[in-house]
Each structure stands twice: as C-alpha cells, then as structure tokens.
Subunit: 232 residues, 4 copies
C-alpha cells in the first residue's frame, strides 16, 4: 500500500486526477471503475476540463461498481450520479459506458474478464468502514459481485432514507482484488479514525475496507485531516 | 481462481511443470518462489530434466517463502530441501538463489519489490489449512513477511518434532497477494476436505489458505482425489 | 530475445506446447494467435491431448493472424488449416474463435485492442524471411493489419500455385509488436541461414522477420539444425 | 500510438507531468528514464513542486538513457543537466539515481532487466529525427545500448561544438522498445515537419525516431505548433 497525504481536499483531488489521467493516456483500451458520491466531486471537475472536448480519451471505458435501483426509474442512483458529475459534462460516448445493474450483476465479473479487466478503480471509504457496497454485516470476503436485500436490521439502516426489502448490487472483495490499480480517496477529520482502523488495524469483515490491505497495488490519497490518526 | 483437475500425481506434476516452464521461457528476469516438501517432488524431477544442462534459464531467480532455522547448521530446513530436490540437480547458479532467513526476513518484501516482484509462486496446502508458514492461530491476514515464535500451545504443535520457543519465518498473506501468478498444487484424498474448505468455504484465519480465494491470478492444480469433495 | 535450442522437432514441439499451456492456465481471459502450416503440427498434437476434453481452457480465445481467401469457399486457407490441425480435434467452442478475414481486416487491430490484446502469438519463419503474411517486397514496417494484392512480380510468386491479382490479409509489423509474448519456432537445416539473417543480421524490410529483433518479449525455439549457423 | 495535442508548451508540460506522476504513484518500484534538454523544462518544474518535500516517491528510480562524457569532469552532460533540472531541486536520494556512463554502458540492458525494466521513458525529438542518442547515420535498428565515436563526417556534426573522435553512449532502438510506456514530447513549429515524418512516414534509419511507430505503448504529446503538419 502506498499512502499519499495531501494538504487538503483540493490537493487530494488534483493528485487523484493526475493518477487517473496517467492511466487514461496510455495507448490501449483502459477500463476504469469510478465512484459516485461527494468525495470525488473535485476530481471530476478537474477531469471534465481535460476530457470534455478531447478526442484523446476514446480508449477509456467506464464501469460503475455498485448500484441501487430506483422504483419507476430507468437507471439507478449510482449511474445517475456519475452521469451528472462526470459522464455528461465530459461528453463521454455512451458506447464507452457499461452500467452495472440489478439485472446484469451476475455477469459483471465474467464481462470484465472478457473485456480485459479493470485497469483502475477509484473508491471512497464509508464512515462505517464500507467500500463500494460492501457494508458491515452484509459482506463476506469471498464474494464476487453480489446482491444484497436489506432487512432493516443492519447497523447502517436509516429508516426514512432506506426501505426494508430494498435491494442493491455491488462488486465484492474478490472482484475488487482483481483491479490492477486501486485508488482510495478519503478526506476530512470525521473519517480519520476509520482510516486508521481499515489501513492499520486487523483485517475483519466488521470493517470491510480492511481487506484492501491485501490489494497488490493500492494507492491511498488522504487529506491531512483524514490522515491525522495514522501511526507513522 | 482457475481450478485444473488432473487424473493423478503424475499428471498434476506434468501440468505444473508446464506452467512453470512457460513462465521461465520468457525474455526477461523471472522471479520464482517455490515450495519444499513432498507435493512438488514430481514437478522438480521433470524440471530438472529440462533445466540441468541448459543455458536458457539464467534469467530465472529463486526465492524460498518460509524458513525454519536449524541449530548449528548454516542453512534452514526449507532451503536445504530445495537444494536437494531442485537447485542442486538442476545446477542453478548460486547468484540466482535468494534465501529468506530468520536474519533477513524483515527486508524480504522490500527486497522483492526492488527486484521486480515475484512472477510466480508454487505452494502446497497443509492438512490443517496452512499455506507457506501461515498456520492456524499464528496467522493474521494483514501480515507481510513475519517471524513466529512457537509457544507449544498451537493446535499443530507436535511434541518431539517441534520445540517450544523455536522460531520460523514466512511470507505473509499480504506478501503472497502480490505474486503475479500463484499456483497451488494439492494431491491425495486426505486433503480433499480441506481443499473444499479453503476454496469454497468462508475466508477465515482458522483456515489461513482460504484467503487465497482473493488472489487475482490463482491457478489450482489438483489430482482427482484432492478434488473429490469440491462442489461442481 | 531469448533463444532456446532443442535437440529436434519433437523437443521443439514439447517446449512450445509447455509455453502455450503456461499462458492458457492463468485465471483470466487469454488471447492467442496461432500459426497454420507444417512447423506447429507437433505442437498442436500435444496440445490437443491436453485440451480436447478439458473444461479448463474455456478462458482461451483464438485468432488467426493472416488469411488467404479461397474462391467459392466460406473460409480461407489459414483458418481452414487451423480448424483441421487444432480447433476441431481440440473441441474449441466456436465462440472462442475469432477469424481474421479479407472482409474484416480493417477492424482487426481495433478489435484486438478492445478485447484486451494478444497475450501470445505463435509464428513460424518463411524460407525467404517472411513472418505472418509479411513478405519481402510487400512489407512496410509501419503497417498495421493490411491487405496485399499480388502483382505476379514478387520474388516469391509461384505461377500455378498463386494467381495474379489474388489478395491476402495479414497483421503487420506494428500489430505484431503489440503481442505481449511472441514465440517463433523454426526447425530444419534449410532455414538455418535465414534464422541467422533475421536474428543476427541488420533489420531490413528485405527480410521482414528481422524486425522481430525489436520485440520486447520474444522467445525463439529452434531445433539444432535451424540453430546451426547462429553465432554463439 | 496515442497522440495528444495540447494548446501550448504549458499545457503539454502539465499533461506530461500528470502521466509521470500517475506512474510514480503506484505501490511498487517504478523505474523512470527521463530526458535532459529544453523540452522537459516545464515538466520538471511542475514535478519538483510535487516531489521535493514528499516522502511518497521513494519507490521511484531514475535512469538516464544517453551520456556524453566531459574531459576532466566526473559526470557527463546528460546527468549533469538532469541533476540541475530535476534531481537536485526534487531532493532525489542518490540511491535512486542510476547513471549510464561511457564506462558501464555495456551492462545497461542487463542491469535494467535485473531491476525490473523501465516502466516509463520520457524522450524528446531531434530536429533531424533523432531520439535519445540515436542519430542519423550512426543508428542501426538492431542496436541495444551502444557507443558512438564521432568521425566528424556525420550530417549533424557541428564543428566548434563537437570534436572529432569524441564518444557518447545511448540506449538503442531495441532497448527503447522494451520500455513499458514510452512518452514522446515535442513542441514548436520548427519540429512540425519532422513530427510528421517520424510519426506518419516510412520507418527508416534516415529518421531514427520513425522506429517508434512500432512501440507497443507510445503516447505522443505535442503542442499545436508541433502537430500542425500531421495528417488528420
């Protein structure tokens, strides 16, 4: 694991953008899986500036790694967010977008293998230690891409925000270990304790992201606050 | 994970030899870590025939992945066994042999990184679910190369054969996940139940080899007996 | 370049089979491009024995690298030969066969890029220094996959066997340089002089295979006769 | 080949910096070979800002790819320039610097192979079509690292600036083809014609850089002026 500590959110975003553009600038098909949410907002703003009117990145293909379907909507929460934050403003060709859905999740690992595997994946860290949709109490380390049915008993269940019986899909720990370069970004003091737990504590399904310690090529980019509790 | 089931010990050995020779025949430095013990005896016999008088494999470097020092002996049990089974009869140049010892184990992961990483590692499976020296009760999944001091309370402690306070070193789960191609060979009915446990059961430190399910490029070669309890 | 010299045709075939099986036994999609003709006959006999009733190689995809269409026949000379020598006796699933044809050759390089690139290519050497369909007088080193229209003036034109105006397609030098592991097999005294020319002489379009000296991962497997004129 | 056209020198430098930082940010030893001269001055300024006080890039090792010794000076022109432009201001540890010299050039290719190969090389383009020290009339495509003795008859010989009988060393075309990611940067109208020659013309020793068309992973970064004569 390589940990890079940047001054703040802006510097973390800049460094992350550099790493992703580095991958994308190679002369071959590049498969990226990228995260939705708040943490990457700065990264995508910078990437959009570079990619939006450029013909140079037609070699890059995009995959989401988890999805929560929305009743009566054609697409789920994750891909909708990715379209808004990055895919639409960057003018990504639809042929280069490969959504994971609750319908096709069983083929996700096989599909990725057939298309050459993921060159890089950008992920964040949940305050409860989750990564992708690998949540405490519903993650088994031996999982490939899988579906979770929410019982309402999970420690992370938020009544009002979530519904009992709702489903979501996610690439599992085995799927993520196959990514050639894994990039984890975390900012903010709120997550400092969990950063320490998952990067320097025991590997345990209680904090699913602790399994990432075993990834053969993991770059962690933190702002100073998120890094503040790490042992030197 | 790719599982190849061969008819018997002879066919398992032949397939394994093919895979190793495949790696060794590339035009670049190739770093191999290979196992001592009984399971690879057939593999090494076949490899010796190919390698012993050939100048073609000077690009291959050898590393052991665990070691048990022997009082009053210059070298430990593992490297001594490897010399007998393979390195000596194959006439491997000493400059291509890189022993892991109880003295240098703290540098093992860094050294491997500096020398380009391991291209392939050949391992066996213990009847108790261990791999390399990653034994039940003394393995933590977050370990790089580490040293174990035997307390005598371990479930695998054999009085007479082992001594309380003896030490050994081993590459840990994190080290093994970095190997580019991991090859696990197992033969015999005695291990069939454990093969099922570690390849198809939960990932748990109780059976350390279960973590191998997470390796991004694992080939398992079994004889029919060792494979007899696997779910299809 | 790594040159492996084997005693005879049988040993050359055995070594080549080992290298190919080594690639095929990894836990990922493996894209192979393999040659038709007489040189690989021994290789394919051995591979058929391993692959024909095995479910273990469903991850391997096959590509031909050149093709000569035949009037009034659905398929050309190369793929027809490959089907007879290997694909049919080995029971390769048609979904894993990706023919290059005179109709689709313009998409060949792009298609390969999208499918992850070629992991290995097995080629032979022509007595006139050609490789794939890269013949003297019709090869430019800057070519990707291209089509040749035979004028009848070429030094290798054989009246009776070939027709003026006939066409063929071939992956070009640039395409071949992208293969991750290139394996060249040559046997027999007749080719010994050309082996020396292309491996130890100047890089020149006169002997197209001389460009292979620039490939970053080339393994050459020769029998003793083919190697007999090489400088030590 | 992937060609990226940027607006101007500044944008070209920014993109190049991104690509290099992308490589350097991986969790493994990264071997870089970088160019001296004027073209990369902007790249190095940006890289120094990121690297100079960071412990995060201790995994990066640096190699020069050519050298011109200077009488009565300990080090040659290239490494002296690299120290001034980048290695010194970036505070690179001397243990991570691996000079190529007129004394050790015969070991350069073997040394690189033993140390895992070059992950990336940054090069420029000479107005006469040279790359590294591969000059018109003294380059053979089949060269590994080699030494040139200047006769004074070369078309690029500049009396006053150069001396008859002077020597230099350079990695050759075969050495450069082994680099995993090759990055060529060119700016300015003066080089626009040569950019077109070497990227879109025939592969010929007359313009040595034309051989780069055969590299399996080449990214070319041009400013608009340097790209102005390329065929679309």
């Amino acid at each position: 694991m390589k940990i890079i500590i940047e001054k703040d959110f802006e510097a973390m975003s800049e460094m992350t953008k550099n790493i992703l553009i580095g991958h994308m600038s190679q002369d071959k098909r590049v498969n990226l899986s990228i995260t939705a949410g708040n943490t990457p907002v700065g990264v995508y703003k910078k990437m959009v500036e570079i990619v939006k009117e450029s013909p140079d990145y037609a070699n890059v293909h995009y995959y989401n790694f988890d999805e929560i379907p929305v009743p009566n909507q054609a697409e789920g929460i994750t891909i909708t967010d990715l379209r808004k934050l990055y895919l639409n403003p960057a003018n990504i060709n639809e042929a280069n977008v490969h959504p994971l859905t609750v319908e096709n999740y069983k083929e996700q690992d096989q599909r990725l293998a057939l298309e050459g595997g993921l060159d890089a994946m950008l992920i964040g860290l949940g305050g409860d230690g989750h990564f992708c949709g690998n949540m405490p109490t519903t993650t088994s380390f031996e999982n490939l891409t899988y579906k979770v049915k929410v019982s309402g008993e999970e420690p992370w269940f938020v009544p009002g925000e979530m519904e009992k019986g709702m489903e979501f899909v996610t690439m599992g720990p085995v799927s993520v270990m196959r990514v050639k370069h894994l990039i984890l970004i975390v900012n903010g003091e709120k997550k400092a304790e969990m950063v320490k737990n998952v990067l320097q504590g025991p590997v345990t399904e209680e904090f699913p992201a602790s399994i990432l310690q075993l990834h053969p090529n993991l770059t962690v980019i933190l702002d100073e606050e998120a890094a503040s509790k790490l042992n030197k």
